[in-house]
């Protein structure tokens, strides 16, 4: 891993797309940088978004400048991150309930924003996507695509490392010291081992997104974030191979995105206090399905694997929106903002990047890097738009069937498939573990897609836990990530399954409920997963009690 940089030029806080992009940008400009995230990379908003590489069509009416930013970055990412992108294309479809004026204005608004938009005949649209409602009136094709976040983040970090930077997961910033107006240092705690490290950077760039307020508070800065929680539901079948948007003013449940082997319907918007609020309710889920049915009439019969939430890092800028601003989350601009805390709050050595969306991460990072460089008196230009990310240059890598095709080319068969649903082989898993070292199964999930298929970890989790145990010599106490480890495969298993089950709670019906019952039956019934001395011979525990 290289030497620890205790006095880097820049400390980047937050390992989502923005932070990773910023680290890459700064490292390419010759700065020595360190990135820390309190958890694994991409566990914040970046890892919980809809999966969409926006064309910008969604914003053409209400937020044309955001739309323009989207399409420009869309094209940049297609050049530099082709390997993370499934080129699904996108369509905007008008249902009978969608307002004519919006629909009629749509192609013109796209053109004005520089977004390629062709109208395609309804019959052709329905031929390509037979699951769409036959009642649609018009359809427009736009260059939406599906963007895989963790590979993207990993590639940015890899490039950053290649330019001398470092990035550490599971390092939480617990204190920021001040010396008058100046930030004098940062205390970072290893979430696995508990050890503390002191970092004294010249500049801190907080890319903590929805958590930016919490980070700023450590420095004594008031930064009010309005986390905008959105619920999404994951369909087991890819009923569409194209991104489908509803052609109307943006609302809930009006986008369906094919993502690898699933399709994700979203989303909702609810302003919340706590960016870690990840509650979903079945009412929200039902509302999403009701909306989605306008696009896909058979939706109610299709199997939902899980519901999950992401929080948008919305920033309510008091200068732009007064204190009487409405609570309508959708009214808050999605544009990103660089906050210079020296100018804004009189605190030197800290900038925050808030707002924005994953599609424009690179641009956000570029502007944040420009701000950092300005503070450090440097004028190196940004080079992130020109160079493909390492290993991401080939667009042919990322199509739906690639894992199956590659596996079959290697001979096929199930003998070494650890996660059969998502075709994760033992070799893939071991490569990930070699790269990452000790980690949790959830880390493996992000890195390989293990556990993301219909069985939601039912068959693969224990194999992954066992492989981790096989690799760690007996008696070795590793710096395990929270959530189970090599030394406690059973704990790893129950933590991961509990986590997966959380997502099933709001969608517990039909085949997915049956799947949950079958998997629980196997692990509790056949494997005795919860069995321990506290269970037998100890207190009998009665019903767990109602859940809220």
């Amino acid at each position: 891993m290289g030497e620890r940089m205790l006095t880097p030029d820049v400390l980047v806080i937050g390992g989502g797309a923005t932070g990773a992009g910023l680290l890459r940008d700064l490292a390419r400009r010759g700065l020595r940088c360190l990135l820390v995230d309190r958890s694994d990379f991409g566990t914040g908003t970046s890892g919980r978004y809809h999966g969409l590489l926006h064309s910008g069509g969604r914003y053409v009416s209400k937020d044309p400048s955001a739309a323009r930013e989207c399409i420009v970055e869309n094209q940049v990412l297609r050049r530099i991150a082709a390997g993370c992108i499934e080129d699904t294309g996108g369509i905007f479809v008008a249902t009978p309930d969608d307002p004519d004026d919006y629909v009629d204005a749509f192609p013109g608004a796209c053109a004005a924003a520089g977004i390629d938009c062709d109208e395609i005949p309804v019959t052709e649209t329905l031929r390509r996507e037979p699951a769409l409602s036959p009642a649609i009136r018009r359809a427009f094709r736009v260059p939406d695509a599906a963007l895989e976040p963790w590979q993207l983040i990993e590639a940015n970090l890899a490039d950053a490392r290649a330019h001398g930077a470092d990035a550490w997961p599971y390092q939480r910033v617990v204190a920021i010291q001040r010396d008058g107006r100046r930030i004098s240092g940062v205390t970072v705690r290893d979430e696995r081992s508990g050890a503390s490290t002191r970092v004294v950077p010249r500049m801190i760039a907080s890319a903590a997104g929805a958590w930016a307020g919490q980070v700023a508070a450590l420095a004594g800065v008031e930064l009010m974030m309005s986390p905008g929680k959105g619920t999404m539901i994951v369909y087991n079948q890819r009923m569409t191979d194209t991104v489908v948007n509803r052609c109307h003013p943006p609302g809930d449940g009006d986008i369906m995105v094919p993502v690898h082997t699933v399709a994700i319907l979203g989303t909702t918007e609810e302003l919340v206090e706590d960016p870690d609020d990840d509650e979903t309710s079945s009412d929200e889920v039902q509302a999403l399905i009701n909306e989605g049915e306008a696009l896909f009439p058979a939706l109610r019969r299709m199997r939902v694997l899980r519901a999950y939430t992401g929080v948008r890092p919305l920033y309510r800028d008091p200068a732009v929106q007064g204190p009487e601003a409405s609570d309508d989350g959708r009214a808050i601009s999605r544009s990103h903002i660089i906050l210079d805390h020296e100018a804004r709050d009189g605190v030197e050595g800290l900038i925050s990047i808030v707002g924005g969306k994953l599609t424009t991460y690179r641009l956000m990072a570029e502007q944040a890097a420009n701000a950092v460089c300005a503070k450090l008196g440097m004028s190196e230009p940004c080079t992130t738009a020109g160079e493909p990310l390492p290993g991401m240059g080939d667009s042919r890598a990322h199509w739906l069937g690639h894992r199956l095709a590659e596996h079959e080319d290697r001979g096929g068969g199930d003998a070494d498939l650890i996660c059969e649903c998502e075709m994760v082989t033992r070799a893939m898993l071991e490569r990930f573990l070699d790269r990452r070292g000790p980690c949790s199964i959830d880390d493996i999930r992000r890195g390989t897609r293990l556990g993301m298929g219909p069985c939601q970890g039912g068959f693969c989790t224990f194999r992954a836990a066992a492989i981790m145990a096989e690799r760690a010599p007996d008696g070795h106490t590793d710096r395990a990530a929270p959530g189970g480890s090599a030394s406690d495969p059973e704990g790893a298993l129950s933590t991961f399954l509990n986590e997966r089950s959380k997502g099933t709670r709001a969608v517990a019906w039909g085949r997915q409920l049956q799947e949950l019952w079958m998997v629980t039956g196997i692990y509790v019934g056949v494997m005795g997963l919860e069995g321990s001395s506290s269970e037998h011979g100890g207190e009998a525990t009665e019903d767990h009690g109602a859940v809220s």
Binding site: A415, L513, V526, S533, E539, V547
Partner: protein, 445 residues
């Protein structure tokens, strides 16, 4: 259309028990099922009851039977003879079981390195039931390249304090991975394929020799037992098990794996063979989609065939369609839990309370106790105890409300006892000479 004295829907343990009991009693019985579920996923043992601080199965059954809402309140008398009966059947088919309901409930190893409570197990798993003597070792042995059995992880789990509930476990637990001939080179490998390999006499001779060598090289001798994955043969299981027992220096026992369950498959095939031998009909593949009722009574059962429906006339229907896992109870997006064949009234907690936050925590999900209420003759009733559905119906197995089979480990006991009891409701036209007494002479409907 064909006719039958009784139709059983569902080929789980409850349905198989009911069908076999009916066939034995001379009834013309059709077993219809749309596929296989719990039999092919389960451990192959007979889980009758296990509760904290209940030393024997019988004690646990008695405690559960004290709860008027538990199926054992109705079934506890039928349970011992039903178990005796099915064990006799299985013994006859070459699949003997060890342990009784008066024996202690003990921890037996599982393939994730935990232990589960058990008392009655098939012979291949039975060596795990015996208490561990001081100085005894356990060798967890599996083939290299088999992704469903991981000796190191299992051994690590079994060495944890508390894995054996505070009672004495083996003094030493050691993992042993053995290269068995050709296994690593295979493109495809699951438990069934390994079981078939073990059925080849030449291969298994080499395999046991390889295990013996590995034990010596690993210095793993001394008194003890060996935990093998449950792959010791399928149709030829008895011969493979006998050879394993005689060829291996440590007494072997099988540990059940994730599905496909080879022990579960053996149990299914044994009961199916007994049913066919007794003249019963088993038809697997199409879903029952309609129950014909006339004048408030069952008259026919219809399956979805390739064209039209395949209809069997009958006036006795035994529903053993399973709980949520088996597909006999279906959760709907509107928050209701329904029984799809006859829309029998289902007792379930309100929609918001179905699932606990931590599904693997001790209490389990509130939804686990959901099911259909029955009277003492296993006729379905509604919440106020009034008969529900048409006459001629009996329900059994996981359909029955009030059991939490995962926490109480009562699923197999309820299945066998209720299947056997439900079958007894039929008065056969020509009882066999050796039909058990309790099956003759009960009034149908």
């Amino acid at each position: 259309m064909p006719s039958a004295d009784a139709v059983v829907v569902g080929a789980g343990l409850a349905g198989l028990s009911a069908t076999l009991a009916l066939a034995e009693a001379g009834a013309r019985v059709h077993l219809l099922a749309k596929g296989h579920a719990s039999t092919h996923w389960a451990s192959g043992g007979l889980d009758v009851a296990a509760l904290p601080r209940a030393v024997t199965v019988r004690e646990a059954v008695a405690r559960l039977a004290d709860d008027a809402r538990h199926p054992y309140a109705i079934l506890s008398d039928a349970l011992p003879p039903a178990l005796e009966w099915i064990r006799g059947m299985l013994q006859h088919e070459g699949l003997p079981y060890v342990g009784t309901i008066d024996g202690p409930v003990v921890p037996v190893p599982t393939s994730i390195g935990a232990t589960r409570p058990a008392a009655i197990l098939p012979a291949a798993q039975a060596a795990a039931l015996r208490p561990w003597e001081p100085g005894e070792r356990l060798v967890v042995c599996g083939p290299g390249g088999f992704k469903d059995y991981w000796p190191h992880a299992i051994a690590r789990g079994l060495r944890r304090a508390g894995a054996w509930w505070g009672s004495a476990g083996p003094e030493r637990v050691d993992p042993l991975v053995v290269e068995l001939p050709g296994v690593r080179d295979r493109l495809n490998l699951d438990a069934i394929e390994l079981a078939r390999l073990f059925e080849e006499p030449g291969w298994r001779c080499d395999a046991f020799a390889a295990i013996r060598r590995a034990l010596i090289i690993g210095g793993l001798d001394g008194p003890g037992r060996m935990a093998l994955p449950a792959v010791l043969g399928l149709d030829d299981h008895a011969a493979v098990l006998a050879e394993a027992t005689s060829e291996l220096p440590l007494e072997p026992f099988e540990v059940p794996l994730t599905p496909p369950s080879v022990p579960g498959l053996r149990l299914y095939r044994a009961l199916r063979a007994a049913i066919v031998r007794a003249g019963g009909r088993v038809q697997i593949g199409q879903a029952v989609v309609r129950i014909g009722v006339r004048d408030g009574r069952i008259v026919e059962v219809a399956m979805e065939a390739a064209a039209r429906q395949f209809v069997v006339r009958t006036d006795m229907l035994i529903m053993a369609t399973g709980g949520i896992a088996g597909g006999g109870l279906v959760g709907h997006p509107d928050g209701t839990l329904r029984e799809p064949l006859l829309d029998l009234p289902v007792e379930a907690p309100p929609a918001m309370s179905w699932l606990a936050r931590e599904p693997l925590a001790a209490g389990g999900h509130p939804l686990e106790a959901a099911g259909i209420r029955s009277d003492a003759e296993l006729r379905p009733v509604d919440a106020s105890g009034r008969p529900a559905g048409p006459a001629g119906v009996r329900i059994c197995g996981s359909l029955l409300a009030g059991q939490r089979y995962l926490r109480e480990r009562c699923g197999d006991g309820v299945a066998v006892a209720s299947g056997w009891l439900a079958a007894g409701a039929h008065r056969p036209s020509a009882p066999r000479r050796d039909a058990p007494q309790s099956l003759a002479g009960e009034v149908a409907g």
